[in-house]
Symmetry: C2
């Protein structure tokens, strides 16, 4: 969204305002004001023209300008109705040197999860990928995955969903029938040992979608199934704002993660590149290592597929 359009929205946010006043305040022509008002209407903003001037009466529930409207975090939003993969697009932007951009889509046609697994991404979800350039060593990268899980969980809880985190990066809802996956995270990066060049954190949230349409093998749920449809704009903004706060204070991430963790205190089976680890998940350590108490002592697991076993 261009800066004048941003400014027009900011003025409308404060209440009704006449065309001439807007033109005056923003130092543009009345024709320019009219043009921006029309563009905002095209983007889904409902703007009445009455005796008091323009009045904002409705904000679209999703889309680029909608997410940027009132967003309290320094991310540029690039929105797509449909895209093969927000992570792939974010990697392109990262390769071109961009930072603090979030690629958002209503639908992905080639969504990817960890380890090149397919990730169902029907219209109505929130599929987003952050382009980041944190000045930290590459080994610290997992902390941003944890931060994204915390931010997603907080946004879900504010929406009334009783979400929690499965190590390392699934947001789920625990039910009597087992865990149901609400969101997943795929972090990709390039860098040297000393420094991340770029980091792409992709978050896929089953938002306003029918859980029944998601692949059966995933044991998925959706926000629609849990609490009904919501304004994806608000959810996305809260996620971005929470993430921005966490990345500014990475030392707070682990404590926040532990607070929402469904994994700690559970019997788990973790499949790692070097074998299977079974035991009690007792802690998570910087930068995201799971500590499992096994029959052979404590094992520190840095990456793998984690399964929550039935508690005794």
């Amino acid at each position: 969204m261009n800066d004048t359009r941003h400014a027009v929205l900011a003025e409308l946010e404060s209440g009704s305002v006449s065309g001439p006043t807007l033109a005056d305040r923003l130092d543009v022509s009345r024709a320019a004001v009219w043009k921006h008002i029309e563009a905002l209407r095209d983007a889904g903003f409902e703007i009445d023209s009455g005796d008091d001037g323009y009045e904002l009466v409705g904000v679209p529930e999703f889309g680029g300008p909608a997410i940027e409207f009132g967003l309290d975090a320094p991310f540029d939003v690039e929105y797509h109705d449909s895209i093969p993969s927000t992570n792939d697009r974010a990697r392109e932007l990262a390769g071109a040197g961009r930072k603090d951009v979030v690629v958002v889509a209503d639908e992905q046609t080639g969504g990817r999860g960890r380890l090149e697994r397919a990730w169902a991404s029907p219209s109505g979800g929130i599929w987003l990928s952050l382009v980041l350039r944190p000045n930290v060593p590459t080994t610290r990268a997992p902390i941003f995955t944890l931060a994204a899980a915390v931010a997603t969980t907080r946004a879900a809880r504010e929406a009334g969903v009783d979400a929690s985190i499965k190590w390392p990066n699934d947001v789920l809802v625990e039910t009597d029938d087992g865990d149901r996956k609400l969101a997943g995270i795929l972090t990709e990066m390039e860098g040297e040992a000393d420094r991340i060049s770029w980091l792409v954190v992709g978050v896929g949230i089953n938002a306003n979608v029918d859980a029944a349409t998601l692949p059966a093998d995933v044991d998925a749920t959706s926000i629609r199934e849990q609490v009904g449809d919501l304004d994806r704009r608000v959810f996305t903004q809260r996620l971005l704002e929470e993430f921005d706060a966490l990345r500014s204070d990475v030392d707070s991430v682990l404590a926040a993660w532990r607070e929402y963790a469904a994994t700690l205190g559970r019997e788990v089976r973790v499949e790692t590149a070097s074998g299977e680890v079974v035991g009690n998940a007792v802690d998570v350590r910087d930068p995201g290592t799971l500590v499992v108490e096994t029959d052979d002592g404590e094992v520190a697991v840095t990456a793998g597929d984690c399964e929550h076993l039935r508690s005794a």
Copy 2:
């Protein structure tokens, strides 16, 4: 080098052999044998033609076919007399899906060190970059940097140079006047948290070069300065073979690293992204973390510039 040329060299390695016998054994025409012999001569191999047939009497001290000749490690060698940066070329190959290739050059015109510092790479050095695709989580990447430092140190010691390792990735010679840098390592990678997509490990060795021509601010030395010029082919082969053995047994890397470490037991100052750490370097922990005993307790450093302070 193509497979037939490899086979010709392998036959010559075992002793003199006639053209017809070679053609027979390799199931190619005599003209093809002659063509390969000529190509090998062009590449610097000295091959006599006598009554007993072809006899290998000299192997070039550097170059692609020379390094592949008798190499006991599964790396394809791509050699360049001069190239901007072996790491950049290795990244290209990695992006194209290659693995287990080593890009080697006699000279780099745009050599890079850590954090985009320039790395002087005159003709006569050994500038090489390995393209690897290890099936390990990204957080384990530093272990390959340590492995490269160990392999380089072993090759240098076999060449008679009293080399040791400064954390995390410099190979140096300790002198009464302080440390002199013999080699440096730059590791770059791309991947997701669970898995490295590709890893490029660049090693630059000041081999047959005048130390005096290297930048003064680096406090460099060279193999020439220490023990005189050597066959870079042999050094490179030993480095590759040692590295290959270490990567096949990554659990052995830390112990080997500690054995050659100049840093452990020393007072160090480490500049990290989050500040300076000063104290006694007491250990290195998986996957390459330096443990420094400071006045405020033990600090674990995952990346940074390390300076050895004058010992008391």
